[in-house]
Amino acid sequence: MTAELEGAGLPTAMISAIGPVAAELGAARVLRGIKIPHPCGDPGLDSARDHDLRLRIVRGALHAVTTAVAKPTLFDPVAPS
């Protein structure tokens, strides 16, 4: 799916708990998520920190779609500037 979205000209950040595998299979922009059942956050954290983690993940994904890439690239969550 990411191949087709990227190919159609839509930069796509794939948020995946198994990021290196997504990159190996050719996804161009991969954001390292947390775990397979909860890629965007960590239920083990208190709700404020969990929410903050999700913000970082989404910021990281937005950073990925604003970055030019030539090949599959892994991105990390980003803290607010």
């Binding site: 799916m1 990411t2 191949a3 087709e4 979205l5 990227e6 190919g7 159609a8 000209g9 839509l10 930069p11 796509t12 950040a13 794939m14 948020i15 995946s16 708990a17 198994i18 290196p20 595998v21 997504a22 190996e24 299979l25 050719g26 996804a27 161009a28 922009r29 998520g33 775990k35 397979i36 059942p37 909860h38 890629p39 965007c40 956050g41 239920p43 929410h51 999700r54 913000l55 993940i57 989404v58 910021r59 994904a61 937005l62 779609v65 604003t66 970055t67 030019a68 890439v69 030539a70 090949k71 599959p72």
Partner: protein, 346 residues
């Protein structure tokens, strides 16, 4: 007596279903679950001495750590041959089986697994390990165990294994030197002539089937960009009003998030048949991170959020269907003026 170590996931290893996906690696004596069938097919010359079992999430979330642990056990168990799976068309289980065989090979222990052509484990591991073909589902278990047993016995006996096209395993891309009656130039001209006259011919250098992804240019100005949320995590409105399938998806759906500040717990559920849905059900923003994206929209970091999110359950989905679904969603998003996509995969 040939000693065989067998690898299974938590499901076939009789520990539990998706709720047990995080189960750490353990080792049982003798055969477990389908291992009994494997033992029967191996006959009296070989014995399944131990079964390594690990939860799918635990294995796939950190394949390197999983592999290290498998390697340590194999060093201790010292089998003559390793059999993994069969994992059919499974994603995480297929990857784990590939990693087990790779680690065995590293210790010079021959190994074999069986995966269906739709398992992502094939693309990642086929160049390094023997992967026999199998049915998409466990319906083909008995027949596959028979072939795995035969192949394992041949490996243990250090028999010469022929090329993929005669032996039937997934081609590893290994090329061996061999004498041929015709020179390369003659064979190339023969191929060209065959092609020109419409006769059948076979290439000696097949190209990889998956074309590389062509990355899209980046978003120039995030402050003006419209962002869409897409997920393969199977998150649908509570009650699944459109009957979205829990696996083997062939279609997708979109649902409105207009005016919503977050994915409200209780209003959504995950119907995805391939992971423990409890966290997604308790807080659907784990799968569709609308709350965080809305906050960044309010703060002016992004221009806007598309009024719908897109969903299917990405489990057991054929690659051809995934591509078509990707094309359909891309066309829909472009028609709605979307500039970039956040795709959450579970």
């Amino acid at each position: 007596m040939i000693s065989v170590v067998h690898y299974l996931n938590q499901f076939f290893g009789r520990i539990g279903g998706e709720e047990a996906g995080d189960t750490p690696l353990s080792v049982a004596d003798g055969p477990v679950g389908p291992g009994a069938g494997l033992q029967k097919e191996l006959g009296a010359a070989a014995k399944v001495t131990a079964t390594i079992i690990c939860g799918d999430n635990k294995a796939a979330a950190d394949l390197a750590a999983f592999g290290d642990e498998v390697e340590a056990h194999l060093q201790r168990l010292k089998p003559d041959v390793v059999v993994a799976g069969p994992a059919f068309n499974a994603g995480r289980y297929g990857l784990a089986c590939g990693e087990v065989c790779l680690r065995a090979a590293k210790l010079s222990i021959p190994a074999v697994t069986a995966l269906n052509e739709e398992s992502p484990g094939i693309d990642v591991y086929k160049s390094k390990v023997y992967i026999l073909p199998t049915s998409p589902t466990a319906l083909g278990m008995t027949e596959t165990l028979g072939r795995l047993a035969k192949f394992a016995l041949r490996l243990a006996a250090k028999e010469t294994i022929g090329p993929a096209e005669t032996e039937g395993y997934h081609a590893r891309g290994v090329r061996r030197a061999a004498f041929h009656s015709a020179s390369a130039a003659e064979r190339a001209v023969d191929m060209l002539l065959a092609r020109l006259t419409g006769a059948t011919w076979t290439t000696e250098l097949p190209l990889p089937a998956l074309p590389p992804v062509k990355p899209a240019p980046p978003v120039a100005d995030l402050k003006k960009a419209r962002i869409a949320l897409v997920t393969t995590g199977g998150l649908v409105p509570k009650g699944n009003p459109d009957g979205v399938k829990q696996s083997n998806s062939t279609t997708w759906r979109s649902y409105s998030v207009e005016g919503k500040s977050r994915m409200e717990p209780g209003q959504y559920e995950s119907i995805h048949g391939g992971y423990d849905n409890s966290h997604a059900n308790a807080n659907p923003n784990y799968v569709v991170p609308l709350d965080a994206l809305r906050e960044l929209e309010q703060a002016g970091v992004v221009g806007g959020v598309l009024a719908e999110y897109y969903v299917l359950a990405g489990v057991g989905t054929a690659i051809a269907d995934s591509r078509r679904i990707g094309r359909e969603i891309a066309a829909d998003l472009k028609g709605k003026g979307v500039d970039a996509v956040l795709l959450t995969a579970t």
